[in-house]
Amino acid sequence: MNLKAPSFYVNGKRTARQTKAAAAICNFDERKLQVKYQISLPVFQGPFDLLFHLIEKAEVDIYEISIAEITAQYLQALQTMRELNLEIASEFLLMAATLLRLKSKKLLPAAVDEDDDETEEEIISINSREELIEKLVEYRFYRQVAGELRSFEQKQKRVFVRSLSGEKIVLVNPEDEASISGVPLPALLQALERVLAEKEREPQDLSPEAFSVQDKMKEIMAALQKKQSGVDFFALFPPGAALSEIVTIFVALLELVRLKKVAVWQSEPLSRQIFVSRL
């Protein structure tokens, strides 16, 4: 009773859609399904994947496929998927429609062929059997490569390199991260921006401290003492400051302004840049 590994897991890690599909199955009651259908239905990566599977199953050369037959099989596969309560993505339905159109085209007299230059769909637009085959052939190639990559991956998983976990100064090749290597300065600023943006989203929870306006006034003066040229307004607010602390600092600053101990100024009107310096 191998319940936990129906073929949904055969393809390795599941995609979001696969997960959904698998979840749908699970809700449906795995056991019953297993008995009822004896499923050997892989979860398909897309309509081409499914088509490909059908062709392989029929042991037909891609170049020999019959549109009529493949259409019937495809529709049947969709029907089975529906019975299994799988969510069928629009791409699958679109392919079904495409196949049906190809099939009907064959049946109809050749003359009525005007809807071709209509841009109907960005993903699948196939207008002839030849085009379908061409697509399938190309898809087959990449599928093979994907298989090759899988074996590389598995091989590589058996090999371990040394890595000192945790954060460290690293060896980033500039090739990979052009944004950081050449221009450290903007990167520095960027890094900070990122950090602050992050912080905004995350509520800070620091142990409560009592803040007094007096203390904060002293702190501000001390900070300004060190930097005669003035400090940035924002720099007055320590990281992770609680709202109460921010308010206290702000009040302290106002008090210092009132006492004419500090000046708060802008480099130019309407500038967002605000400086605080000693008077």
């Binding site: 697509k135 898809y139 994907a146 091989k155 371990f160 390199v161």
Partner: protein, 171 residues
């Protein structure tokens, strides 16, 4: 210290594959000489009583454990799961590797399905990166593979992938 032990020490601390030219630069030796000694080291490691191997990967040399040691090493790391890529991700990577630079729409037209989520995941894992924009209406982003991609699959370079044979006999 001689070049050989120096190279061994460097390869030990480097976490990335090291190109011979870079090793030459650091050690002050000729690149050719570095290459020669690397080959020698490679041979040394091949001996049965060594647990490491020196492989050429992503255009550099990297020390790693021999595959035969994997089961035991996995015991050391037990609990840490390593995930494999999905088939969708592999297909997408395959397309990008051969077609780069390539747009999302181009990838989707080959796979027949939406690919945006996969692309996002691949970018997060740094297997692909944006290499520019295509000069067509809408200026869509162009994707290419990275060194990280080569490393993950243990490839020296893209030429190690199967050759691209595709008949272009349309119409």
């Amino acid at each position: 210290m001689e070049l050989k032990p120096l190279l061994e020490a460097l390869l030990f601390v480097a976490e990335e594959p090291m190109p011979p030219a870079r090793l030459a630069e650091i050690t002050g030796a000729e690149t050719r000489e570095v290459r020669r000694v690397l080959k020698e080291l490679q041979k040394d490691y091949e001996k049965a009583d060594r647990g490491l191997q020196l492989v050429e990967i992503a255009r550099g040399f990297q020390l790693s454990t021999k595959p035969a040691a994997a089961p035991v090493i996995e015991k050391l790391f037990s609990g840490e799961k390593s995930y494999s890529l999905s088939n969708a991700a592999l297909e997408t990577l395959a397309i990008i590797a051969y077609r780069q630079p390539v747009t999302r729409i181009e990838i989707e037209s080959i796979r027949g399905v939406k690919t945006d989520k996969v692309l996002e995941t691949l970018r997060k894992r740094r297997f692909i990166r944006i290499v520019g924009r295509k000069d067509v209406p809408g200026r869509p982003l162009l994707y290419g593979t990275t060194r990280e991609f080569l490393k993950y699959f243990g490839l020296k370079d893209l030429s190690e992938l199967p050759p691209l044979i595709m008949e272009e006999d349309k119409q």
